[in-house]
Symmetry: C2
Subunit: 172 residues, 2 copies
DNA sequence: ATGTTATTTCTGTAATTACTGAAATCGGAG
DNA sequence: CTCCGATTTCAGTAATTACAGAAATAACAT
């Protein structure tokens, strides 16, 4: 797998973006590489292409598999594992959203609810209100996302184009 | 400003969440503290409450002001700057989204477009297609967000409740 | 079984990022 | 201008995170 100028630039940028969103740089780079790869790659190929240690690739791939955006595939006559990422960007986005919701949003809402309960018990009215509002907001966003996520990609696309119409529908 | 159990728990959790989304822990903690504070706080009060250095607070507050979610306010008869955060969660969310779009999404789309152009010039058809799809997806999401962001908070809330209706409207 | 290659785990190190405390700067008040 | 409190800057240090390379394990072929 050779790094052409276009691909190299993309991989580097994607890596940087990763760091800004709490994703390890190498993990993001590998994801980028697999995303544009014409065929599944094996670990050593990735290590060579990106110039990182084999072990680093191994761990990063585990991470990506944990997120569910990279799968192992096998190639006839080759004992090595090959890796492939989801190429459908809408599906990719959905998986990442689902995962972040599960790992971060849901637990946060749970903690907020606990805090609200404690605040109530301790008679801290203001804290109770503020934290309650925050919890409600997050649940509201979550709930909305859970609705839209069921739509097929085409539905999402339509939704994206409907911004104006929705504004009118609601009657701002 | 004393840290009650409820508030302490919230501040700690918010700090952790920050790290997962690429926000410095202290920055996130200060934001959390200001979010539930009954009145604007001055820097030293924040430093004492969270047990971090005064300079750390100063820099973190600059960061939060850069994001536009914390403002300086002045208190009669007090020379010190006091800090207040936006308490409306919907407004807060919108500001953060706007900022991340400006700082990360838009530049990424720009880079993707450049990569597509390069890929095209170099005759890399697959890369061109994949990167093009990614760029289009991100622009599509951006555009959609730009539409909805104009709605008043009440509109957002309605939108959140409309998930089902929208599904039917689109006719999945 | 033994050898061979692929993969993972683990430990030490490197790099990065966050933080502190001191020093410098700022900005009014007298 | 000089003083004094508030704030910021900066340089050194601490803590965290990412990484490489070695060692261990696994998976298969012979």
């Amino acid at each position: 797998m050779e790094l052409t100028p276009a691909i190299g630039k993309f991989v580097l940028h994607w890596g940087e973006m990763g760091t800004r969103w709490g994703i390890n740089r190498t993990v993001a780079q590998i994801h980028a590489l697999l995303h544009i790869a014409p065929a599944p790659l094996h670990a050593e190929e990735i290590a060579d292409t990106l110039g990182v240690a084999r072990s680093n690739v191994s761990n990063s791939l585990k991470e990506l598999q944990g997120w569910g955006i990279v799968k192992i595939v096998h190639v006839m006559g080759d004992r090595r594992d090959h890796f492939e990422s989801i190429h459908d960007v809408w599906a990719l986005f959905q998986i990442i959203m689902d995962e972040r919701k599960k790992r971060e949003i849901d637990p946060t809402v749970a903690v907020l609810r606990e805090c609200v309960a404690t605040a109530k018990a301790d008679g801290e009215e203001l804290a109770q209100r503020r934290l309650g509002e925050l919890a409600e907001f997050m649940e509201s966003m979550s709930g909305w996302y859970m609705q839209v996520r069921k739509l097929p990609p085409s539905g999402w696309r339509q939704l994206a184009k409907m911004g104006n119409a929705i504004g009118k529908l609601i009657g701002r």
